[in-house]
Symmetry: C2
Subunit: 250 residues, 2 copies
């Protein structure tokens, strides 16, 4: 038994746990109205994908892990939905890849930023960025442009879950390597991504951590990790996910 009164073997375990964590996120002021609607949109695409990590998404997750490990300054951008759904898993991925966590919200309010920072601390995070907000992403309106100068602004690799399309494009225009988790392969965020991860964040975040651990354990050389990155074909990944969604099978 875990935080919900259902054994992990239950066929609807993941769905019930997701629902519980989202409800809890609403109570804590972490998840916004638009975040809940976005959650539903994701669930529909996940349903069409078969609520599983398709093989091409697993390949993208391995490449994302290589990017995070090779980065000079990797940052995991945290919004209300992933904070509610996978707080511990985000902290773990940040530790394994030596990345910073930065809270970055589409509908930014100081209350929600602080509620999310507190929530991440409760789940083991030491430092959480996002409260300084002392720099701006060029080309976005004021509120949505706010980032930390020593966080997303300076990062070379950013993992963005369910990002707003405008901001995903603006980050790409800054030349950053964007690892985008979004279940809609046709979204503007995925079109702007360096590595499109078309998978549920609840599965994707732990999967990237596992790949990072395996790459570290195998003592992969920089050269080997660069090869993994160079051989990655993002167009093929996008096309594969769309094909599975349209056809309903691999």
């Amino acid at each position: 038994m875990s935080e919900i009164e259902v054994p992990e073997s239950h066929p609807r375990y993941q769905s019930l746990l997701t629902r519980h964590r989202i409800e809890d996120g609403v109570k804590k002021g972490i998840t916004s109205t638009q975040g809940l609607i976005a959650q539903g949109r994701g669930e529909a695409f996940d349903y069409l994908l078969g609520e599983r990590t398709i093989p091409s998404a697993d390949r993208a997750e391995r490449v994302a892990a290589a990017h995070l490990l090779l980065a000079e300054q990797p940052v995991l951008s945290v919004n209300g939905n992933v904070a509610a759904l996978v707080p511990e898993e985000l902290v773990e991925l940040a530790e394994v890849t030596d990345a910073d966590l930065e809270v970055n919200l589409f509908n930014r309010t100081e209350e929600r930023i602080h509620a999310i920072v507190d929530h991440l601390h409760e789940h083991g995070a030491s430092e959480v960025k996002g409260t300084a907000a002392d720099e701006r992403i060029p080309g976005l309106d004021h509120e949505r442009a706010k980032v930390d100068s020593d966080g997303i602004y300076a990062a070379d690799v950013v993992l963005v879950p369910l990002e707003d399309g405008d901001r995903a494009e603006a980050l790409a225009a800054m030349g950053k390597t964007e690892l985008v988790i979004d279940l809609n392969p046709l979204s503007r965020s995925q079109q702007a991504s360096t590595v499109p991860i078309i998978d549920n964040a609840i599965r994707a975040i732990p999967a990237i951590t596992t790949h990072a651990r395996v790459l570290q354990r195998a003592s992969s050389t920089l050269e080997e990790m660069r090869t993994i990155i160079d051989e990655f074909d993002r167009e093929a990944i996008l096309a594969d996910a769309e094909r599975v969604i349209r056809n309903g099978s691999d």
Copy 2:
């Protein structure tokens, strides 16, 4: 200009109006957390359908109108989402087809029932059922089974928007004609429906009203309306919507 500061000619008018009404529904205590997630799931399927009423959905809406006009005791079941999105349109459909409105919630709380009843009254409804809750749909647990004895319990035809799968099946088991508005053709609700309406409620409700008006104006005989109903092929409607979602075109 209407309730939002955007002209109706704006390409994102429907989307912005939907967002505004949903946010307003949250503020008024009408829309629930699960309702917001369901809204998002619907948006994703609507996106794949091209955010339009596909021709087969229009045929289903005409058949739904015929069912409501021929019914002895038609009831429009109202949940938090449709109450927030199309309150006036529901009242108009109820008037045109001489149907009752009954508030019926998956996550039933007395506060939310009363907030929705008030909201419908503000939008022109005279009588709204759902507060008596003096009967039970067989086969469901207590809270979800509650209905009015002179409303859904006694109805021969029920229009249900975005119904929970268990309740859709339980209503079908009672022998009711179920007109189900749900954008997912694979949902258990649509599998249990008599008439699957695979369209956004924001388009479907006014479309059913228009069809009902046309059928009335043409002084269609009972026989003609029965023919419309008899010629309806629900399997073809379900298959057509799934094909459009999968293939992206008609």
